[in-house]
Symmetry: C2
Subunit: 135 residues, 2 copies
DNA sequence: CTGCATGCAAAAACTTTGCACCGCC
DNA sequence: GGCGGTGCAAAGTTTTTGCATGCAG
């Protein structure tokens, strides 16, 4: 049985309030402002638990520490190869690629993990800065 | 300038001879049979170098250690959620998803990383075992 | 009260690195 | 023989875990 904890509540709220996909370390540093005694171990344990409960999502980045996303609606991520920032991308479903893969594989393709990379607006050559909002 | 080394040659050959995407540790254990004094550090250094040279590919798996692929022709990977094995999937290009993503993102989408998951033939319920060859 | 959650610290898992020596070119 | 590669070991990075105590139900 899972019991309520103020720390977990705080972590959950922190994540759903942001859209910059913080690492466990960043979560730790911020929750510490409210709960100075919280330990990094507790942050990891709660992030892990929240993932299992489906309340947040883990984003694995290579190389580097995992990041966490409080937005669990289906969407994709964009990694800027210059500054390392992670952005949300909301696109129509591309689940048809599962069917394509399944047709060429002797097994059962249930899903895919995809992320996109390139240069974000901030890192692109000057001149084309519209104010598109990613979050 | 890059110099020849027997160890690097051996690592390269080992990878191009296999299709099971071994980890650095597995590479180490196998190369050791031929070069008992090789160190894990050397294996990592050479895997890293071979990646930079574009002679092999690194596959990041979450969770778990990175895996390495001696096959650099474009293809995708399938991760069995039951046994953890990694298989090659050769499919037609799905690069159109870059265009889809680019249309919804204020920046420049240059590419994507995708892997598929599900159950492999070995881990599927009995009865449907054709002899499709994945490698 | 019972037992899950926490804080702390140690350890685990994976990878990189400093340094002295070795061996390509 | 000069300089990149190696072996070894130490250290770095990220995450997990054991244990005594704290707090929700």
């Amino acid at each position: 049985m899972i019991k309520y904890s103020r720390q977990r509540e705080s972590i959950k709220n922190f994540l759903t309030d942001r859209c910059d996909h913080p690492t466990a370390e960043t979560v730790y540093e911020n929750i510490r402002k409210e709960y100075p005694n919280i330990s990094l171990g507790t942050v990891y344990r709660n992030l892990s638990l929240l993932c299992e409960l489906g309340e947040i999502k883990k984003i694995s980045v290579s190389p580097g520490p995992d990041r966490f996303d409080g937005n669990i609606r289906p969407h994709y991520h964009f990694f800027c190869r210059n500054c390392g920032r992670v952005y949300d991308i909301h696109i129509e479903s591309i689940d048809h690629i599962n069917t394509i893969a399944d047709a060429s594989f002797n097994g059962s393709v249930e899903g895919h993990v995809t992320h996109f990379y390139g240069l974000c607006k901030e890192c692109m050559p000057k001149g084309n800065h519209s104010d598109y909002i990613n979050c």
